[in-house]
């Protein structure tokens, strides 16, 4: 019997569940979102799909999605970045201080991404050049350091009131009078447009550039990447720097949305980001996952939180649910890997 035939036979003996896994791997997450939307629409028919609520979901996920996108790239390299929640806070504080010092709005706007960029580069250099045994340790350290610095420079008190140009980024509305008539209340949040543009740019980066391909190769087998002449350390520094940069953009969006910088900003949001990435189908072992999956993961978290809030479900139950979904998502990943090694 030849090899191909044998594999076919094995396939027919597999259970229906196992054979459906490739289908779910590709479309399952979209299916899950549709089911969630349908269920929440049935439970909250007047509210959930209202223009106001949908735009609210997008505004909420816009800054969180920046963290998830950055952490996703790091996880593709089989790394981890625990410091993004602190980077968002430090960049927010930096922005607030620049704003308070009376700098022009276009400088203030650049401060947050610039701080994020430098924080990320610091992580990347620590992980590669200082040869920290695992990114977990380096970024656990900077999780404390960055938030500590943020509190040191701000004195640990909130700073409020930013220029209109900053607020537009997180809270701006693109009116749709042309479609809904003069004075219509329907609008598209600026932050949604920004999120879509950034996700599109990073989709191109990861799928259509050599560095993007190398990021996946490093996650699959760093030894193979090295043997192919790829400077693995340099690519890792790029990845952590971009992750920090995106967290800085998240800080900018958050500044616009809340019009204030506060010491607890972004607290534990690194965990939400990791959760969204894992729910979105990226493998914690590296090398696997898509930008679209991250978007889906972020949306699932956002829709879930929003829907449960609408139904007055307690925050404690929300925690239980989100935790369960993470474990389920990773269990599916485990099954997937078992299948891959069995053939």
């Amino acid at each position: 019997m030849d090899h191909g035939e044998k594999r076919l036979m094995d396939k027919s003996q597999e259970s229906l569940f196992v054979r459906l896994i490739p289908f779910f791997e590709r479309y399952g997450i979209l299916l899950l979102i549709l089911i969630m939307i349908a269920v929440l629409h049935l439970l909250q028919p007047d509210v959930f799909l209202s223009w106001r609520n949908v735009t609210n979901i997008f505004k909420q996920v816009s800054w969180q999605s920046m963290l998830a996108l950055g952490v996703f790239m790091v996880i593709v390299t089989a790394g981890i970045d625990l410091s993004v929640g602190s980077i968002i806070m430090l960049s927010l504080m930096g922005l607030a201080i620049a704003s308070k010092a009376g700098m022009p709005w276009y400088v203030v706007m650049l401060v947050a991404p610039a701080i994020g960029f430098l924080c990320g580069m610091f992580n990347g250099i620590g992980i590669t050049l200082l040869r920290m045994p695992h990114p977990f340790i380096m970024t656990l350290g900077t999780l404390y350091i960055f938030r500590g610095i943020g509190n040191l420079i701000s004195g640990g008190v909130p700073i409020t009131g930013f220029a209109e140009q900053i607020r537009v980024i997180g809270n701006g509305k693109i009116k749709l009078d042309a479609f809904f008539g003069e004075g219509a209340r329907e609008y598209i949040p600026t932050s949604l447009i920004l999120m879509i543009v950034i996700f599109f740019i990073f989709w191109i980066f990861l799928n259509h550039t050599r560095i993007g391909k190398w990021i996946y190769a490093i996650g699959g087998n760093p030894g193979a990447a090295r043997a192919a002449g790829i400077n693995v350390d340099r690519i890792l520094i790029v990845v952590y720097t971009l992750c920090g940069f995106l967290a800085g953009i998240g800080g900018l969006i958050l500044a616009g949305r809340t019009n204030s910088a506060y010491p607890n900003a972004g607290l534990q949001s690194e965990l939400d980001a990791i959760a969204a990435v894992i729910i979105g189908g990226a493998s914690f072992f590296g090398g696997r996952g898509t930008v679209l999956g991250v978007f889906a993961g972020v949306m699932i978290m956002g829709i879930l939180r929003n829907g449960l809030n609408l139904m007055n479900v307690s925050v404690f139950w929300q925690q239980v649910l989100i935790g369960s979904i993470i474990i389920l998502a990773v269990y599916i990943d485990v099954l997937r890997r078992q299948l891959a090694t069995r053939t």
Partner: protein, 248 residues
């Protein structure tokens, strides 16, 4: 014969501190020739390969590519001269498709404005052409390497090594990790390379491999040239004897 010489090592020695790994070893390789290198563990086979690929610098002696003396500072240098090494651990990324692995680090790109983007179409076309040239059968060039059998992976590793017109390919135990039925396919692939005019050096413990694909076999013993023969002028028993340091 000597006008076809593509690679030559002359009295190469390699010392690691007080340890002598290679002592005055000579090696030559002709165009389209498959040379088997045998020897016990620690005989110096791998050290010799690493010297030839530029990973180690020889302590003494010299290397000639196409009869020209060269100094290799890194594997990059030997690659530029047309020598590729197929590593024992294969050095493939399982999560990437076959084509991506073959072109990893040397991806074809196209320019759009100031940016360089991957040329997926060209990569696929080049991959299919190259696999067809080597008569490697896979379901699709887009198949992920982790879905392949051990023999297919070995074939992809060899395809990767030869994708950029390599003239010389070094293989370290190419069949060691394979199921019996897959060994034949890899050996066929080596014979295909030979037909295409590629010179191959095969390190192997398996006499079946040596006696199926090689034109010539040389034995190292304790870091020195021990014996060498055209394949048709020797026998398995004799070669096994060389490995153990016995000569009639």
């Amino acid at each position: 014969m000597s006008d076809q010489l593509v690679l030559e090592a002359k009295s190469v020695s390699k010392f690691f501190g007080t340890i002598t790994a290679l002592q005055n070893v000579d090696l030559h390789l002709n165009k389209g020739e498959v040379l088997g290198v045998v020897g016990d563990n620690g005989a110096g086979k791998s050290t010799l390969m690493k010297v030839l690929s530029g990973l180690y610098k020889p302590s003494e002696g010299s290397l000639f590519f196409d009869k020209e003396k060269v100094t290799l500072n890194s594997p990059r240098d030997s690659q530029n001269l047309g020598l590729e090494m197929v590593y024992q651990d294969l050095a493939l990324a399982g999560n990437l498709p076959i084509g991506d692995n073959i072109f990893l680090g040397r991806e074809p790109t196209r320019k759009v404005g100031p940016f360089n983007f991957l040329d997926h179409k060209k990569k696929k076309q080049l991959t299919e052409e190259h696999l067809a040239k080597l008569k490697i059968n896979v379901k699709s060039a887009d198949q992920k390497v982790e879905e392949l059998s051990g023999g297919q992976r070995q074939a992809v590793a060899i395809a990767r090594a030869t994708a950029f017109n390599a003239k010389i390919v070094l293989m370290d135990e190419p069949t060691a990790a394979l199921a019996v039925k897959e060994v034949g396919k890899v050996l066929d692939l080596i014979l295909n390379l030979k037909k295409l005019g590629v010179s191959v050096i095969v390190i192997s413990h398996r006499m079946d491999d040596i006696f199926t694909v090689c034109d010539r076999v040389m034995a190292l013993f304790q870091g020195t040239n021990f014996a060498e023969s055209e394949l048709k002028k020797t026998s398995r028993d004799e070669v096994i004897g060389w490995i153990m340091g016995k000569k009639d």
